[in-house]
């Protein structure tokens, strides 16, 4: 127990300022203005170390985030001391913004400034600095430290990685992610989704399948439909013994806005399979809709191919769409 205790890694989060346009000495920046989207959201950069174990597992025990500004760099320091093992029982504390905390044996400092926000994607200038006086790590050549990042919400990007010497884990990754903080009025909203697969076969027959689900505002919610089945000549099969299976599924993310409208991001994918072989396509659409508005998202004609199956002919006369009605329920 004592050994385990002594092997704890203590990570310390320091939210510090950084002078504009430069990596360099850390100074407090009290006057930076948070970036706010037209719909009242603020953006933040989350950073976390991820331990990668020899058995392929990975774990992140601590993370910290700093609000993004367009006018100034903001920085975040995660520091700690890695002992003999990668078992982590982390303590997180904030030392303040004056940079006066004693230099830790090991620390990542990441400074970032928002360059632009497209509504779905943030472009960031980043400066990453790693200091290691422990000798426990070796730099990895697999990850190149970026200077400009493009991030979408929920997407984690590894920005640094180090091999670990003489420990139970193989490496420590340092990754960052974009967080979107909603205004208080909609922060705890929940949405319901009425999602229909609307499919018309070559013979003019319709197959409509419904999927109802719900989720928190800003959260990703998966949806899926049972496969559409056909023979290789394109004839629809409803008995479950088709040669070709077309599976439509995806992820929907809705976000309530203070003005009552909803922002939807619909990611759909289509997989056509014949036995063990399959080919697919997919995409993402972003929409702003009224509460309760029904939107049909039509999938483009399928252009993939499968050995021995003329998919172009098979799918030429079919139309497939996903029809979504989103409502705020809380």
């Amino acid at each position: 127990v004592l050994k385990t205790f002594l092997r704890r890694v203590t990570l310390t989060v320091l939210a510090l300022g950084w002078p504009s346009n430069a990596p360099g000495p850390i100074h407090a920046q009290q006057n930076a203005v948070d970036f706010t989207t037209p719909t009242g959201q603020t953006l933040a950069l989350q950073a976390r170390p991820v331990l990668v174990y020899a058995n392929g597992g990975a774990a992140a025990y601590v993370s910290a985030a700093v609000s993004l500004s367009k006018t100034q760099f903001r920085s975040l320091r995660l520091s700690g001391q890695l002992a003999d093992t990668c078992q982590m029982s982390s303590e997180v504390s904030e030392y303040g913004r004056d940079g006066s905390a004693p230099a830790p044996p090991f620390a990542w400092t990441i400074a970032s400034r928002l360059v632009s926000w497209s509504g779905t994607e943030a472009t960031l200038d980043v400066r990453i600095e790693r200091k290691d006086r422990t000798g426990a790590f070796r730099a990895s050549a697999n990850v190149e430290t970026p200077r400009r990042l493009r991030l979408r919400e929920g997407e984690h990007r590894v920005v640094d990685m180090m091999g670990v010497t003489g420990r139970d884990c193989d490496a420590v990754q340092f990754d960052v992610a974009l967080l979107i903080n909603d205004p208080a009025a909609v922060r705890h909203a929940a949405l319901s989704y009425d999602i229909w697969l609307v499919h018309r076969d070559a013979d003019g027959s319709d197959r409509n399948v419904r999927f109802r689900t719900s989720g928190l505002s800003g959260g990703e919610v998966p949806f899926a439909f049972p496969p559409l089945e056909h023979r290789t000549d394109g004839t629809a099969v409803r008995s479950g013994r088709g040669d070709l299976h077309t599976t439509i599924d995806g992820i929907i993310r809705g976000r309530a806005r203070p003005d009552g409208r909803l922002e939807l991001t619909v990611a759909a994918s289509r997989l056509v399979s014949s036995g063990p072989l399959g080919t697919g396509d997919g995409g993402t659409k972003r929409l702003t809709v009224a509460d309760g508005e029904t939107v049909e998202l039509q999938l483009p004609p399928f252009s993939g191919s499968l050995p021995g199956v003329d998919l172009a002919q098979f799918l030429a006369s079919q139309t497939t769409a996903v029809r979504v009605t989103a409502r705020r329920v809380r």
């Binding site: 990611a267 759909a268 396509d281 995409g283 508005e293 939107v295 998202l297 483009p300």
Partner: protein, 119 residues
């Protein structure tokens, strides 16, 4: 007078088997004897009621109800049932159909859609 005593005497009047010793004990009490007499009187009254009286009363009531009222009531019940079934069918058929879209959009090929899912 206990409930057991009442049940015992009631069973006796209904010609069901009873515990003779217990019956003796009950009949030794004045209350038990009085209750037995009451049961006998009640049985006599029931037997004196003309058989078929209830049936005759029902027939009289039926003769006073016009046939058209009966038919109208039956028709109303049928209409209500058909309406109910139709409503259920309509609701089910509506749920089997997707709502009409207010707006139709496409995933733009090459920009929002590709052979490798676009993000």
């Amino acid at each position: 007078m206990t409930e057991d005593s009442c049940l015992l005497l009631s069973a006796l009047i209904d010609r069901e088997p009873v515990d003779a010793d217990r019956l003796g004990e009950v009949l030794e009490t004045p209350a038990g004897r009085a209750l037995l007499v009451d049961f006998v009187r009640l049985r006599v009254l029931v037997r004196e009621e003309p058989p078929g009286a209830a049936v005759a009363w029902a027939r009289v009531r039926a003769e006073h109800v016009p046939h058209r009222i009966v038919l109208r009531t039956a028709a109303a019940v049928v209409v209500f049932a058909v309406g109910l079934a139709g409503g259920a069918w309509w609701k089910n058929s509506q749920e089997a159909q997707p709502p009409a879209p207010h707006r139709v959009v496409q995933f733009e090929p090459g920009v929002e859609w590709g052979s490798t899912p676009q993000e």
